[in-house]
């Protein structure tokens, strides 16, 4: 597990989305064209230009009331990172901060990482043909600054610090929530996928927030990794050629369509 992490205490999230805007602001990401679909949650999913967002979920609770649960969704920076295993180009690597990053130069745009991610957090930039996701604000970490989301969060729902201290803090918070009657309160991300550098305190079951209850690296990904690892160079060339051929074909089809219309 990494030495530093973000603790995301979902029970303190009020959905102001300061983090969501701060992420775009710092990382210079363009806005998406969205529509209102019946929830405050927007954009509807993470993408190459939306690296984190706040999920809003409503549930009736046992007391006859309604819980409106909000929490941050973004790359978890897993210890057991499926994307790293899936990437045939070796473009996804673990940084010196213990986070998971995509090396854009090496990325060949095969999108396997996005397909295998148990949290569906990786976006695909079609213009540049690259996978993109949360970088944990590597440039800020390198300059001894907090990640933009943690820096913006008003309530202390997202905090950045030493892993050992934050794990302890998370445990205390869970006890506090349980004492307040939140019997399903728990830490999420300590055991899941080998531990995540985005550790959560949830006041309810993960599914209630829209998290997978049991995230894991797909078995196919592990098998695939075992097979291709010794032959990485060939695999990369083959996949790259395949993609190129596919894109050229698609382009021709597209052009053909344009001609007929």
């Amino acid at each position: 597990m990494s030495k530093t992490m973000c603790l995301i205490d979902a029970s303190k999230c009020m959905g102001c989305r300061g983090c969501q805007a701060a992420c775009k602001q710092w990382n210079q990401l363009p806005a998406e064209n969205t529509t209102f679909t019946g929830s405050y949650e927007n954009p509807p999913r993470l993408s190459s230009t939306t690296w984190m967002r706040i999920k809003f979920r409503e549930h009736e609770n046992e007391n006859g009331g309604v819980d409106w649960l909000m929490s941050k969704q973004g790359c978890m920076h897993c210890t057991d990172a499926a994307c790293m295993l899936a990437c045939p180009a070796g473009a996804i690597y673990r940084t010196e901060f213990g986070t998971v990053n995509v090396d854009e130069v090496k990325c060949i745009g095969c999108n396997y990482c996005a397909a295998t991610c148990p949290y569906t957090v990786i976006g695909f930039d079609r213009l540049a043909n690259k996978a993109r996701k949360c970088t944990f604000c590597l440039d800020r970490l390198a300059a001894d600054l907090k990640p933009a989301c943690a820096n913006a969060c008003p309530t202390g729902s997202i905090t950045f610090g030493r892993s050992d201290e934050l794990i302890e803090k998370a445990a205390r918070r869970v006890e506090q929530l349980k004492a307040k009657g939140k019997t399903e309160a728990r830490i999420y991300g300590l055991d899941e996928v080998g531990g995540t550098a985005m550790l959560y305190v949830l006041a309810d079951k993960p599914e209630k927030y829209g998290f997978p209850a049991d995230p894991h690296v797909p078995i196919q990904t592990r098998v695939w990794n075992a097979i291709y690892a010794p032959f990485r160079v060939f695999v990369v060339i083959a996949v790259a050629l395949g993609l190129w051929a596919n894109r050229s074909y698609s382009k021709k089809v597209e052009e053909g369509k344009n001609k007929t219309t």
Binding site: A22, Q25, E96
Partner: protein
């Protein structure tokens, strides 16, 4: 100007003690070469968020006279660096990122004096001199025709110097100095219909 100039490259306050990476034996020096900070070598200008009444501090990072980043001021006692979605997006008022991620000037910002003539279906671009003179003429024309100088109050002639023909709507967007002068100007014109967002 008495500013406690602070470099962004230092985390401030209690958080720094535990969160600083160098303090944990991580080699941030090599990392900072690999991942250069985009606001390095910028001038930091403190401002106050223009939205709600909390009055959060924001630091604008300025390079060559242009804001390149705007985020919470960690030295500000109220927000201590934090901001909501509006505050975090304040950069967008001036610049937006087009699809490929290139910053462009927000196309909705007004950059010219505009004039719409009676019955016209569009604006004409004008210069300040023309507009200021024309506005003065409109104010004078309306005021001179409508100013009530005196009224009879219980048999006594009272000087009232007011006009009900001009509305003045001001705003909480404006600074105190601006609003003070707006108030002076409105009262000098004899205006009594004055209001702003405290009621609106």
């Amino acid at each position: 100007m008495q500013l406690t100039r602070r470099s962004f490259l230092k985390l401030t306050g209690a958080a720094a003690a535990t969160a600083t990476l160098a303090g944990m034996g991580l080699n941030t020096a090599s990392a900072s070469a690999a991942y250069p900070l985009r606001i390095k070598y910028t001038k930091e200008v403190p401002t106050i968020c223009t939205y709600c009444g909390v009055g959060c501090g924001i630091i604008c990072s300025v390079r060559d006279g242009v804001i390149v980043n705007a985020e919470g001021d960690p030295d500000h006692p109220i927000n201590e660096g934090t901001l909501c979605s509006k505050g975090s997006s304040i950069f967008n008022v001036s610049y937006i990122y087009e699809e490929k991620g290139k910053p462009i000037v927000n196309p909705k910002r007004l950059t010219k004096v505009l004039y719409r003539a009676p019955g016209a279906s569009d604006y004409e671009e004008k210069d300040w001199d023309w507009a200021l003179d024309e506005i003065a003429k409109r104010i004078k024309d309306t005021r001179d025709r409508t100013l009530v100088e005196t009224v009879d109050v219980g048999g006594r002639q009272v000087t009232v110097n007011r006009t009900n023909a001009i509305n003045w709507l001001g705003s909480a967007w404006c600074t105190g100095e601006e609003n003070y002068l707006f108030h002076k100007m409105a009262r000098a014109m004899g205006v009594i219909n004055i209001d702003h967002c405290a009621r609106l």
